[in-house]
Symmetry: C2
């Protein structure tokens, strides 16, 4: 089996490493950035390297499109003319609705698009940042849909082989959930990091000299890729606005208890949040197996 990877950044290069580790087939790699392609070659991430996405498309049975959300549709449009009959295309983008709708409109009838989203990652990027175990025990969402059950099963099979837990959602539900669990934490991180300058002005001291572990963890993902996050916010605008409203109300509620010095309410609020955190996560900070009991 020829597995194509277009875009050899953090996710693409992690998939390449995982596919090689689990001997899933020949790995064909393309990246429009010449230096990324060269680095992939130097790191021996693939079987063959292509400086042209169409040439890769002409030989691949399955293609993982691992480019930023804003480029996925154009990349797929670009390779359409050269796809073999029966080729399955999947992506790894963090937003699914609009991309799925657009690609399904123009994709040839004898090809398949299976929207995917491995929920793993880090704040790093580039071919050297990948890890073969990035997907192990992590959720890998595939988008439900009529007319491509067999294609979906194939991608699910690959995701399971590299250790991921495959979950199914419809595209809009995925985008709503991820707006809360992923896009919102990034807004917090960017805003806290940017706000540190004003906080320093207020205190007439560099507040960052006094930052502890809680600030470090809150802002970890502020180091993430600018291109990628600009796209995600734009493509998932409505859901991001919706969950931001929800989150702001939650914060306002806690802060209004603090403002009015309502000891009992503060205690109840914190205790409830603490209970949820301890229910869902174990001591090592990993999602706990207990969560399945609650479902």
């Amino acid at each position: 089996m020829n597995i194509g990877i277009i875009g050899i950044g953090l996710i693409g290069s992690s998939l390449a490493r995982a596919f090689r580790l689990h001997k899933l087939g020949d790995i064909l790699i393309h990246d429009f950035k010449r230096e990324h392609l060269e680095e992939a070659r130097r790191l021996e991430l693939g079987t063959r390297y292509f400086d042209d996405a169409q040439k890769l498309a002409a030989e691949a049975d399955i293609i993982f499109v691992c480019v930023p959300v804003g480029n996925i549709v154009d990349v797929v449009r670009g390779i359409c003319p050269r796809l073999k009959k029966g080729t399955i295309i999947t992506d790894v983008g963090s937003v699914k609705s609009s991309i799925t709708r657009q690609i399904r409109e123009f994709l040839p009838r004898d090809s398949f698009f299976v929207p995917g989203h491995p929920i793993s990652g880090s704040e790093f990027s580039g071919p050297a940042a990948g890890q073969a175990d990035l997907f192990a025990n992590r959720p890998y969402v595939l988008i439900d849909g009529e007319g491509y059950k067999a294609a979906t099963a194939k991608i699910a099979n690959i995701a399971a082989k590299i250790g991921a837990n495959v979950l199914y959602l419809d595209a809009d539900c995925h985008d709503q959930i991820l707006a809360f669990t992923s896009h919102l934490p990034h807004i917090c991180a960017f805003a806290a990091m940017a706000g540190s300058e004003q906080a320093s002005q207020l205190a007439q001291q560099d507040v960052m000299s006094y930052a502890g572990p809680s600030f470090r963890d809150l802002t970890r993902v502020a180091a993430a890729s600018v291109d990628m996050w600009k796209d995600i916010f734009l493509y998932n605008r409505q859901h991001v606005l919706e969950v931001y409203k929800l989150f702001r109300q939650e914060m306002d509620r806690l802060v209004s208890f603090i403002e009015r010095a309502e000891t009992g309410e503060i205690e109840r609020y914190i205790a409830h949040a603490r209970e949820l955190r301890c229910f869902y996560y174990d001591n090592r900070g990993e999602l706990s197996a207990k969560k399945s009991e609650k479902n």
Copy 2:
């Protein structure tokens, strides 16, 4: 030298371990919770154990008060009658102004209070959670002030011996800075964790099944002690409200760019936040040495 520790939770037990490791003297331990005191004894954290804080006070040269912010003043008031001449009392509370003011009012003239705050910790608590290296390379703030320079120097010396970086601030400035770098991240964590229930209702799915590393890190400190955080929010109310306003404006600004799909502004906002994060933290997520260049 007899070093007393009142309150053998995370910070108290970490100090005990660090003092023993660095052979700083005999370690006298009291905790009003009988089970904590027994656990400290079982873990061999101290030299001697006291079921009465006054008895400990009568023998200590230096006393670290490591109880929640809301109990510090009462604990110090309670041991006052039994203090030896020249005893230095220090605390490790996360809020300094009001406690410092109150204690200085009633403390006997021949004793000294040096307000302190080691900026380290974790979401865990109790005598078993402590670590001897909890303070290594971490900031340890001491509050500036006239009339107790020699006492401050002694505490600074101990903090340096256990590996901490001693920094000096006045009490109000400390409380303002920590409101931003520590109390605010906790508000985010509690609100995000509590908000997950509403997000699940909205999505009609348990959103926590799809939580990735960014949500995990944002909410890590939601597992922190309820008692401790209730006190911190109440004692630092004004500064917490002030920095929350600042943070909310920052988030609103980013989200309004998203709402209006202002691509350039979103990019600039994220790029600036990213630049700050990468300036202050190295690749391992530790505060970078570079920050000193900026000062």
